[in-house]
Subunit: 220 residues, 2 copies
């Protein structure tokens, strides 16, 4: 198809498509004349993926470019690519800007203890472990250390979701599909969980505070 | 304490503290002379809360200002305040920019069916319901409609986390504590879950793809 058709089908404006090609996010079309290129279903699918990561996942274009680069670089071993994908899609804000002080040291020990307790095979310098330590330290600094007691309830929920994610990923055979499904699952899965948790909050809060009937015993 | 001491204890620079006071995020200190104000533990705690929402939660200052305004406005009924808090801390990017097309209509029906199936007392026009519909539509558009099948696994996990959150909140007696704990729990809880889910991914992926021992039967 021509670029105009690709734009109509994907909902992405032509100048934006050209920009993605220049930035290396989207492969160039196949030239059929000096001024005309043809695009195929692969281009359309890649465009939809970029838009999902951008609009719903809120990833910056630079992170999307790096992840897609790793997906396309077939010389990289699969485990490396999955690592790049996981690190680049970790939200940058979930860090611990201070990273010092008694709360931070305590939080790092707490994360190490959690990993040991659950038998999770994760290096302690994994960015997600650092993010988690940052969250725990911030909770303490904000006067909400009690929230840290919910860690294992959260870890149980995270584990069951992560296993479902992995089952989804393992159904993929082709390498590109596999990595793409990790990226999509991580980013859009996080947005999906966030929305569901807020809906469950509304329900729980309505039952608790709106008066009317209370939660039925055992409904939890 | 003086502003210099408040800055040392909270780790927030003096000009930033003054900026927060001007923007209404932090109550002004008590004037002890025309040029000098005194601050107390409440100011320190509020500063730590602002920093946690900003640095770890990634909330924009405008959303923080609005939420804190609702917390401080004691004339507002509690349920209203909780509503403002929940809406303002919903990440803006988790929307459905297009919002049209067959995927969007299907996604909205799917969310309505989910709410009915689970018996969640949520209005269909709740922003989180719209976010969820946006995520489902984006998954389909990106060619990952199969991921939508994980919806109930995710909803189970979200429900158990939300009940733990509410138990934490219900331990609060004072109104300000209650609303603050909702804000902290929603924002930092989301960051906590995100980090835990990524750690659980690393573990599950190590077991599945790194070779060596496979996951023990029943370990899931």
């Amino acid at each position: 198809m021509r670029i105009g058709e690709l734009s109509r089908r994907s909902g992405v404006p032509v100048p934006t498509i050209k920009y993605y090609v220049r930035e290396g996010l989207l492969p160039a079309g196949r030239l059929t004349s000096p001024n005309q290129a043809r695009y195929d279903d692969g281009h359309e699918r890649r465009l939809r993926l970029i838009r999902a990561l951008l609009d719903v996942g809120g990833l910056p274009l630079s992170a999307i470019a790096e992840v897609l680069g790793a997906v396309d670089d077939t010389a990289q071993p699969l485990h490396e690519v999955l690592g790049v994908a996981a690190v680049r899609i970790t939200p940058a804000q979930a860090g611990d800007p201070a990273g010092v002080g008694p709360e931070s040291a305590e939080a790092r020990e707490e994360v190490a203890a959690l990993l040991a307790r659950r038998g999770w095979r994760v290096e302690p310098d994994n960015p997600a472990a650092q993010s988690l330590a940052g969250v725990l330290a911030a909770l303490r600094r904000a006067g909400h250390g009690g929230f840290v007691e919910l860690l294992d309830v959260y870890a149980d929920a995270a584990e069951s979701v992560a296993h479902a994610d992995l089952d989804y990923v393992r159904r993929r055979v082709a390498r590109e599909d596999l990595v793409e499904s990790v990226v999509v699952g991580t980013v859009l899965g996080e947005a999906m969980f966030g929305a569901l948790r807020r809906l469950a909050h509304v329900d729980a809060s309505a039952r608790a505070y709106e008066g009317g009937r209370e939660a039925e015993p055992g409904a939890r």
